[in-house]
Symmetry: C2
Subunit: 328 residues, 2 copies
């Protein structure tokens, strides 16, 4: 996919020559890198990587969500890297919301990041090649399959446990997008149909039982974060133990259901709550085995995500370079 | 994909010539048909169709599940159609169980249809071309997308409501198979995590609340079939109404969850219980809208399956001719 940038003007003072000179003075392999961008809620993550995934640069840029500051900061970062590294062989971008069918923008993202909906990133970043846009969770999964915990796999579910519970799924090597780009919202499945409906209309959802945004509601105001809850449970607080065990059971039960729907070889767990480590993965392993249909003796692996906050940026780069496990 | 059959022996009495003569005397378009076979629990459904899906023949052959009677009857039927119609341009087959990765057999099918596991259908039916094998629900969905209720769609969920609750899913035009071929077991998702675990280890599953196999358990022995239950509910029996409403709510709630996971444009409902008609589809429509995340105003269509008992046979033929909505 890598190719040299072309310019109509080739004179010694032209933009192309200046760019090329800047690149040649760098010690990096020029014109042969991919730029992955991931727009989060409070920061932008960016990586510059080779086609084989070797990291050349990595940056996190915080922003305040007003006046499209995030967009301007992305543009500034891309300009700076173009100057330093030359024109990338491809740029990919991910962001919250549902990616449009033509993959040039986020089509639906109500409530925050005003200006993101239908912003055409190929135009906005003056890219000579189309910039494919992915939903952030879709990108994180693609990143984990390309260079993270799910390397070499074709059937994978990802859960990101944080404020909410996000997710993404790949089946037979295909990253699931769906009719309007919402496939893989794995946090919005019912475990208790008598429970309250969440922001997505889902009754007693996994997100309700596991997401940080519902922790006060779930704990009668006792805990402000899952981190606090887990710490209390580890100290032996009986009430905290019961609540945390219920959270883990909700996740195990949901994974059990979705194994029947998506048939993964591995389930990747990421997000801030995954930092609970053994306090999560120990009981989760047991809960999954309890609810899992082990057809022909098969057990889905439960793995911790490896790329952390940069999974989406890696996935965006993978998407830009056309990484596709279905063809592998 | 259609091509003429070839034979090393071309003499006037050769098998090829006899076959060809038989075919020429038929009024049907010869050498240009596909044979779709679907092995069920008590009968074999077969269709001979053109590449555009026009039906040339259709047959249902009952069998008793002993001594591989089903296999012998399939072989006899294929022989008869080869004699009458000539060699098909392709044969496809579907059956219960999980299809093997190489698609030449059913890899896992414990408990019944003894002899089905790892039976290589290409060899068994002496086919000059590989016979692709699909799980029966996968085939039914492919059939409905090719020639039934989901024509022209790429994002579809299918539920078959009968003894159990089966299903299949297509996302972005890809029929989901998964790591061991079990993707799309949509009946085995939890709606009530406090409910009993079903045969697949799933707590309080959709199948538990909707499948005929659990109806005695669900109704304290009062009803022997969903048909009886729905008839009683329609006569105004208060207890039957409550039980049936709960079944429909379980289905609506599961569809709501799985819309977030698979993002279908349409949900197809088939199987014997779908014959309940308005008694099912009226309340189901309301239950789905109640639980559905209508992102950007999107509503998934709820449609009744169109191909009935022959969906799997059509899907097997579609699979043999290489029908693939992802490429469309």
């Amino acid at each position: 996919m890598a190719e040299s940038p072309k310019s109509k003007s080739q004179g010694p003072g032209s933009k192309a020559v200046v760019l090329r000179r800047a690149a040649l003075t760098s010690q990096l392999s020029t014109f042969n890198y991919f730029l992955g961008l991931d727009l989060g809620g409070t920061s932008i993550k960016a990586v510059a990587v080779t086609a084989s995934g070797a990291k050349l640069r990595q940056r996190s840029v915080p922003f305040v969500d007003r006046d499209m500051e995030w967009a301007k900061k992305i543009r500034a970062l891309v300009r700076a890297w173009r100057r330093e590294l030359g024109e990338p062989a491809g740029i990919g971008l991910s962001a919250p919301g549902l990616a449009a069918k033509d993959a040039r923008s986020i089509g639906v993202m109500p409530g925050r990041l005003l200006g993101l909906e239908r912003l055409d990133w190929t135009d906005y970043l003056d890219s000579p090649r189309p910039i494919p846009v992915l939903n952030d969770a879709h990108a994180a999964l693609l990143g984990e399959v390309w260079r993270g915990a799910a390397r070499g796999l074709r059937d994978v579910m990802l859960f990101t446990l944080g404020t909410g519970v996000g997710g993404a799924a790949m089946v037979d090597g295909h990253l699931l997008r769906g009719a309007i780009g919402r496939a893989g919202h794995l946090g919005h499945v019912t475990v208790d149909w008598n429970g309250p409906r969440d922001d997505f209309n889902t009754a007693g959802s996994l997100e309700h039982f596991m997401g940080n945004k519902y922790i006060r509601e779930r704990t009668a105001g006792r805990f402000a974060s899952t981190h606090e809850l887990v710490a209390a449970a580890e100290r032996g607080d009986a009430e905290a133990k019961v609540i945390w065990e219920r959270s883990v059971r909700a996740l195990g039960c949901s994974i059990g259901s979705l194994i029947n729907v998506l048939d993964p070889a591995a389930v990747i767990i990421g997000g801030g709550i995954a930092r609970a480590g053994a306090a999560l993965f120990g009981p989760l392993e047991r809960a999954v085995r309890h609810h899992e249909w082990q057809a022909g003796g098969h057990q889905a692996k439960i793995l911790r995500a490896e790329l952390g906050d940069y999974a989406g940026a890696y996935g965006s780069a993978a998407n830009a370079l056309g990484f596709n496990p279905a063809k592998g």
